[in-house]
C-alpha cells in the first residue's frame, strides 16, 4: 500500500538542514532519557538478583520499612517525570521545528 520509492516530497525534506538538526537533537534527547530509565531499572534488577540484602536494609534503626520501597517508588515517579521532560521538548521546540519543515516542504 505504501513505499513510494524516493518521492520528491521526502527528497525535499532530506535536503532541508533543519530536518537533520531536528533528527539529531530529538534523537539525542530520546536516547539520553531512555538510557537513564534503562540503566536505572537494570541496575535495580541486578541488585534484586545479586545483592538483595541491600534492599532489605531498614530506612533507619527503628524503622520497619526497608530502603527498597522508597527506591522502587522513586523509579516509578522519576521515570514518569522523564516522560514529562520529553513531552515538554518534543511538543514544544521540536514540534515547532517539525511544523516549520512541513511548511517549507509543502509550499
Amino acid at each position: 500500500m505504501h513505499s513510494p520509492a524516493n518521492t520528491p516530497v521526502y527528497e525535499r525534506v532530506r535536503r532541508n538542514p533543519k530536518f537533520h538538526e531536528l533528527v539529531r537533537q530529538r534523537s539525542r534527547l530520546a536516547l539520553v532519557l531512555s538510557a537513564i530509565v534503562l540503566v536505572g531499572y537494570y541496575a535495580f534488577m541486578m541488585v534484586v538478583a545479586f545483592a538483595p540484602g541491600l534492599l532489605h536494609k531498614p530506612m533507619s534503626d527503628e524503622s520497619s520499612l526497608s530502603v527498597g520501597f522508597p527506591i522502587g517508588a522513586a523509579i516509578i515517579i522519576l521515570s514518569w517525570l522523564l516522560t514529562g521532560v520529553y513531552s515538554h521538548f518534543a511538543n514544544g521546540r521540536f514540534q515547532d521545528l517539525t511544523d516549520e519543515i512541513t511548511r517549507e516542504t509543502l509550499q
Partner: protein
Amino acid sequence: MIARRILVAASAAILAAALSAVPALAAGDVGQLEKQPINLSAIGMFIAFVVMTLGITYWAASRTRSTSDFYTAGGGITGFQNGLAIAGDYMSAATLLGLSSLVFAKGYDGFVYTISFFVGWPIILFLLAERLRNLGHFTFADIASYRLDQGKIRTFAAIGSLTVVCFYLIVQMVGAGQLIKLLFGLDYNVAVIVVGVLMVVYVTFGGMIATTWVQIIKAVLLLGGGILLAFLALSRFGFSLEAIARSAIASHKDGVKIMGPGTLLADPVSAVSLSLGLLFGTAALPHIMMRFFTVPNAREARKSVFYASGFIGFFFLIVCVLGMAAITIVGTDPQFFEGGKVGGKLIGGGNMPVMHLAKALGGDLFLGFLSAVAFATILAVVSGLALAGASAIAHDLYARVIRKGEATEREEMRVSKIASLVLGVLAVVLGIAFEKQNVAFLVGLTFGVAASVNFPVLILSMYWKGLTTRGALAGGIAGLISAVTLVILSNAVWVVVLNNPAPIFPYEQPALFSMTLAFIVTIVVSKLDSSASARAEREAFEDQFVRSQTGIGAAAAAKH
C-alpha cells in the same frame, strides 16, 4: 439501522439473562464454600454499568460508518482521553487483582513485579510513540509491512498479534471467572460466557468509539475506587506507611523477609527474563499500539503517553499500598479464609485479597462497587483485545493479504464483526481451559511472546535500514516458535495444564532467550539477503524515516 436494532435486541436479551439469573442464584448450591451469598448492591452497580456502556455502544454504533471509525474512532480522540484509555487498557484485572495479590503473598517481590510492569512506558514514549503515530494506519502490521513484502510480513505480523491477543484474553477471562464466582455466586463457566457475550456486543456494534469510551469510564471508576480504598486502608493505620509495614511484618508468615527481594525473583536469569518480557512486551501489545492510531497527530500521541504513565504509575503505587495493607487486614481475619483457618486457602482463590480488603474496610456496598468496577475492567480490556484481534484478521489478513486491497469497506467491516464473534467464542473456551492459573504469571507469559514476536520486527523496521522481508520473517518465526515452545515447556502449561511431573524449561519467562534469538536471526538473515527486493526495501527506508520523524504523508490517515 439494522445493526442498531440488533443491538437493542441483544442488550435486552443480556439484561433479561442477567436478571433471570438472580432467582436461580438464590437457590445457590450451599455445598461449595467458594461461592458467596448474593450481593444485591454489587449486581445493581454492575447492571448500571452494563446499561450505561450499552447506551454508549448504541450511540457509537450510529457514528461507526467507515473502517477508520471502526478501528481507530476516526482518529478523533484527544491526548488526554487517549491517555485515560491507555491507562484503562493497562490497569486490567491482572494488575488490580494479580499485582495486589502478589504483594499480599510475597511482599517486596510483588513490588518489583509492579515496577517491571511500569518502566516500559517511558521507553515507549522515547522510542516509539511518535513513530507509531506517524507510520501507522490501523494496525501494527501497517508499520511492520510499510516497506517490506505486504503479503508475507503482514500475514506474519497479524499472526503475532493474534497469538498475543489470545494469551491475554485467557488472563482476562480467568480474572472474570474468579471474580464473578466470588461476587455473584455464579458458576465460573457462566461468568466467562457473560464476559464473552458482552465483549462481542461492544466491539461488533460500537467499534473503537465504544471500546474507547468504555475504557475511559472504567479507568475513572477504577482510579476513584482505588484511591478511596487506599484512603480507607491508610486511615486504619493512622495514615502511616511505617505502621502498615510494621503490622505487615508482624502478620505475614515470612516476617521481615517481605521487606526485600525474596524467592520469587531469586534466580537472576528469571529476573532479567521477566523484566525484558515486561519492558519490551508492553511496547508490542497490539491493543496498546492500536491506541496510538486513534489520536490525530504525534503531538497528541506524546501527550497520551505522559498522561497514561502518570495514571498508571500512580495506580500501581496505590495497588502496592493495598497489597501491603491487606497482609494485616485480610491476612489475619478468619472470615476471609476457607473454614475460617487463618493462613489457609483464601476464599475465592489467591487473586482475591484486594476484594476482601474492600469488604473489610467498606462493607458489602464497597465490595459491590469494587467488584462491579473490576468486572467492568475486564469487559473493557477484553473489548480492546477483541478489537485488536478483529483488525488483525479483517484489515491485515482479509482486506490486505487475501483480497489484496480490493475489498470494499462494507466487506471489511463485515469480516471484522465476524472475527470479533469468533474471538469471543475462542476467549470463552480458552478461559474455561485455563481456570486454575495465577493470572499475573499468565500476563508475564503474554508479554514474553509480545516481546519476542512483535517487538523485534517493530523496532527494527523503524530503526534499522538493513531490515529485509526474509530477515524479519525468519527472526519473527524463530521468536514465535521459541517463545510459544518455552511457554508450553514451562511450569504454567507443562505441569499445571498438561499434568506432567516437572517443567522442561525451568523459568517462567521466555523473553531473555526467545527475544534474543529473534533479534539475532533477524539481523543475520537480513545481512545475508542480497536479493533485488532486499535492495529496494533498504532504499525505501529513507522515505519511511522522513515520514516517521515528521508525519508528512501521515496526516491523511487522521482526517475523517
